[in-house]
Symmetry: C2
Subunit: 253 residues, 2 copies
DNA sequence: ACCTGAACACCGTTCAAGT
DNA sequence: ACCTGAACACCGTTCAAGT
């Protein structure tokens, strides 16, 4: 992070130009047409020239995710948390829909780049600012994760550490501290999970619980709608009658 | 459909053997290690021998999905619809978790095979048997789709028709009728959607609406839990107190 | 030191030559 | 008619030879 955007001349290659060209290529011809060789051809350079700016194809894909994360609107200020989250999730969806390869690529990423962590930190902050507990926020993030992205798992599991085998414990601790400074909201949510039961490695997330959490939210909601004889035909009318969302879903607290 | 399982001798190749070997290979070494050439090697045959049993790699992947769909438990009789659905979704999840490549492959399938349609028909039937309207069932399927599978889209869009450009309308109608006979529950859910607004081609599904439907169910649920000061730490106690699900989620109707 | 052509070890699939 | 080796048009990446 930091050594990008060093192209001097127009026509000169830069990491930014490589990533943008890769995004354009995948947008226009599909992910299966994105090869290092073809990308080089598109940029008018020899294949090996790309390896100056990305270590390999995996890093290219990581960078492409960074590019489109930058296309998600920043949070809108002044809205209640639910509307703010709703708006932002819909913005993320717009981006994912605009790049048909995005879900597939995101799903296969293992390391989270700085740009992705920043987005997740900001997203997490919307719940905390709304007064939700770190605990509920944690589960809410997992439940909505699949909707926003395509991944269902791990908020972060020993992030950025890479091959952690040889990293001494005090260095790991320092790294965690730096993480906490840079991504305070993620840290606030992760800290309790780390304390009870979780090691740093296992990250303290219970996949099965998170899955059932989201599943039960949906099933309970569906049952509610069934009891109320909800119908999608009436949902526009419901919206006109003052409901918040166009789906006409809304329980009276 | 119908011409599988024709292997005569032990050691003879059959579609079934090819598919099972592909599943095993992907399970053991990962999806990126699954190549036609390596699969052939694993089976002790020349690469081109596989093309007698699958048209190409895409069809191989289709078949692999069929294999694991067969691993999902059948519906449990005698349960209320919500418990029945819950149990079956968790069974599907178990299968998907057991085959780490499954989500990725399912997401890239475009044609749905008979086995997948049969599963979806049976799954759909669980809601209808519970008394849910075809309309609500339709949206519920979309909302849960991502949880069960990894796809969010289209329940079915002109299924099995293939290159439909040259198919005469009366043949298409006959095909639809046969579909309805074979998959009555899907048909019951799709019929209303087809009538209002939808052509056969466009399938009458509004992606944006389905997305917002699921999103709103989750957001409303999260808000409810926030109001009640729900915590995951208390959820085991809540379960002991008689709640249905281990997550402790349950609104009092 | 930097750049890059050739080479390596792979792909999925076609096709013509063998039986 | 069936089977299959060689070939085609690709991959991502290494590496040694060039400047």
């Amino acid at each position: 992070m930091g050594d990008q955007e060093t192209g001097r001349r127009r026509g000169q290659l830069s990491r930014q130009r490589v990533l943008q060209a890769a995004v354009d290529l995948a947008d226009r011809f599909g992910l299966e047409s994105l090869s290092m060789r073809r990308l080089a051809g598109e940029l008018g350079v020899v294949p090996m020239a790309l390896y100056k700016h990305v270590a390999n194809k995996e890093e290219l894909l990581d960078g492409m995710v960074d590019v489109i994360v930058g296309e998600i609107d920043p949070p809108q200020a002044g809205l209640p948390w639910k509307e703010a989250v709703r708006t932002r999730v819909l913005s993320a969806r717009r981006v994912v829909q605009a790049h048909l390869w995005a879900r597939r690529v995101i799903e296969t990423r293992s390391v989270k780049t700085g740009a992705v962590l920043e987005y997740m930190d900001s997203f997490t902050g919307m719940f905390l600012a709304g007064g939700l507990s770190p605990d509920l926020t944690h589960h809410a993030l997992h439940a909505l994760g699949g909707r926003m992205w395509g991944f269902t798992q791990e908020l972060f599991e020993d992030p950025q550490v890479g091959a952690s085998a040889a990293v001494p414990p005090e260095a790991q601790a320092a790294m965690l501290q730096q993480m906490a400074r840079r991504y305070p909201n993620i840290a606030a949510v992760a800290a309790p999970a780390l304390h009870d039961g979780g090691t740093v490695v296992a990250s303290g997330c219970d996949d099965q619980f998170e899955f059932e959490f989201a599943l039960d939210l949906l099933l309970e909601g569906i049952e509610q709608l069934h009891r109320r004889k909800w119908s999608s035909r009436r949902s526009n009318a419901a919206q006109a009658a003052g409901f918040v969302s166009p789906t006409g879903i809304g329980y009276d607290g």
